[in-house]
Symmetry: C2
Subunit: 349 residues, 2 copies
């Protein structure tokens, strides 16, 4: 439950200085995209997408709020810091091409620890074909601060926003939901055990799927690629970062529509279901409100829906309705309940 690399070799950041540190951390990053005209090393990066639109998204991640270094390997953290931002770009039906990464670091962190973090960033950049083009490196008094900005290109007229869902659209979600939330519950439980008795061995066996969903989420590049290959137009799209319910509320509010989803169609993995029950939680509540799934939630008309290839990792979960219909979920027993931004409980079913 601790960062082992600190035990092996420890180089103080002050030995390199700010500019030396940046050089050290970014030396292996090669520019891959022809749109990247100038990367790290100037006042600003320079990009050209020709006749495409530029899409920009940014996230701020703070130690103790978004991540706990006690159970988050730094390499995973670097990877995740990138993928959660790329997820926002894919949710616009655009292709991320560049990122900037800014970090605030206390002297508790060694150069070796930061190198681990950048190794994760590097792997994510390689996997998604993205260039690291800039950032800022600074001291922090306490805690590790990460700010990532992702920049991508989108084809004009094909960028999918939140406010363009249509009444009657089929509502779809990719992958499965709730597992990342359950992965976090396990890590928090093991942290408590560790704090109570540091000699105890962590019990993480058989939980690989939910742990990976939380610690090393992927962005759904494959889905956006599939839309293009199958010539599918979606009307609205958003990524699931705060939980399905919350994202449905965003879609409905911005599109001035209502929605009805079906409990029975919510995609929940067997591992997540089993674990939720073990924790005494309702798997559906985990799926609706867990968050950090980084799946794509989108709406499209029936003819586009019918173009989805057989076996596509997509599930239809409901329909967009007019605004007066409200936001509802139909339970397995056929009852219709109002969906709450913070989820819905089985209490009154």
């Amino acid at each position: 439950m601790s960062n082992k690399q600190d035990n092996i070799k420890r180089t103080e950041i002050s030995q390199l200085g700010e500019f030396g540190l940046i050089e050290h951390l970014t030396t292996e990053f090669q520019m891959k995209n022809k749109s990247t005209l100038r990367g790290v090393g100037d006042d600003a990066a320079v990009i050209n997408y020709g006749d495409k639109d530029t899409v920009v998204s940014t996230d701020l991640l703070l130690e103790g709020v978004h991540f706990d270094l006690m159970y988050t390997p730094l390499k995973h953290l670097g990877y995740k810091a990138v993928t959660v931002n790329l997820s926002d770009i894919y949710a616009m039906n655009a292709d991320p091409k560049q990122i900037t990464v800014s970090i605030g670091v206390s002297n508790r962190m060694s150069v070796e620890a930061l190198s681990e973090f950048y190794a994760g960033i590097y792997i994510a950049c390689e996997r998604y074909g993205v260039d690291l083009v800039g950032g800022d490196t600074t001291t922090s008094l306490k805690g590790f601060t990460i700010s990532v900005t992702a920049i991508g290109e989108g084809e004009r007229g094909k960028i999918t926003q939140r406010q363009t869902a249509k009444e009657g659209d089929i509502v779809c979600v990719t992958g499965d939901l709730g597992a990342a939330f359950l992965g976090l519950q396990i890590l928090e439980r093991e942290k408590d055990v560790f704090l109570a008795s540091p000699q105890a061995q962590p019990d993480l066996g058989g939980q690989d799927y939910v742990l990976q969903r939380f610690l090393k989420p992927e962005a759904r590049k494959d889905i956006v690629d599939m839309f293009r290959q199958a010539d599918i137009s979606v009307n609205a799209m958003i990524d699931v970062s705060d939980g399905l319910s919350s994202e449905l509320f965003h879609l409905c509010k911005q599109s001035e529509l209502g929605v009805q989803i079906r409990e029975a169609d919510l995609p929940i993995s067997d591992e997540a279901t089993e674990l939720a029950l073990k924790f005494g939680m309702d798997p559906m509540v985990c799926a609706l409100n867990g968050g950090e799934d980084y799946e794509l939630l989108f709406t499209l008309d029936e003819s586009s829906y019918n173009k989805l290839p057989v076996g596509a990792d997509v599930r239809a979960i409901g329909k967009m309705l007019n605004q007066a219909s409200g936001k509802n979920i139909e339970s397995r027993s056929g009852k219709v309940h109002e969906l709450l931004a913070q989820g819905w409980s089985h209490l009154d079913d």
Copy 2:
């Protein structure tokens, strides 16, 4: 020395929630640039610059490291968080058009305090014609965290980088140097006085210039506009954020050249000179190493230099030499000293 607005009305951030807070803070921001296709409110912002290049720069500002809320009014802080980023875009000879602003806020901060901060951002956006197009808002356990990304457009072939200075180029700097550093010294001194006896009245009289240079710096849009009007091409440019010496080192390293500047030509305001002497400091050391000036340092050939309009706020301070010549400063007495990244002292003169 404290944020008075907190005494008047205090709305807790939790009363609005994350999305309510963003709406509340950004409601007055109108998009001004036709390149801004989509601003706040989606997974990402959408921008199109036509056939121009996209220029991106980012800064991370942490409480206790980059600013002290004891003497930094939040409105000034918002303004400065924007202008220091725009400065990087102008240093590329480009025009900032959009910014994203992410904040991490502890519950110590009220909605009213944050509104002050955004009021400063708003004023800067209006003054520089920039759109706020996105960001992230999150809780922090401790301290106020700010991450700003500025995005701008530059004409291909006219973007000025650091590695393209030429041997024989005249080295110029805009405005004057060292004043912001001295403004900070005054604020730190008054903070110490206040902490020792909270009843004491701060002694800030007559220091308006240096205080403003530190608390509310401007970005040199006027200089970049002037280059275009006078059809002046500069070979390399950088903004002075870490101090003149440090920026000269960057130019020399990346352009593989040397430099010689003249002490007598360093632009230092009378206020800064007087104050430096009062503090027992060498004004030249303040100018070389103070930092936070946000002036532009650039190099150009003689024919371009001769096109500078009479009265331009620009001073020639030296010349780019070959790499073997090293990096030197000629003192007023005519002696040549090696320039150090951390400055140069009069000790051996």
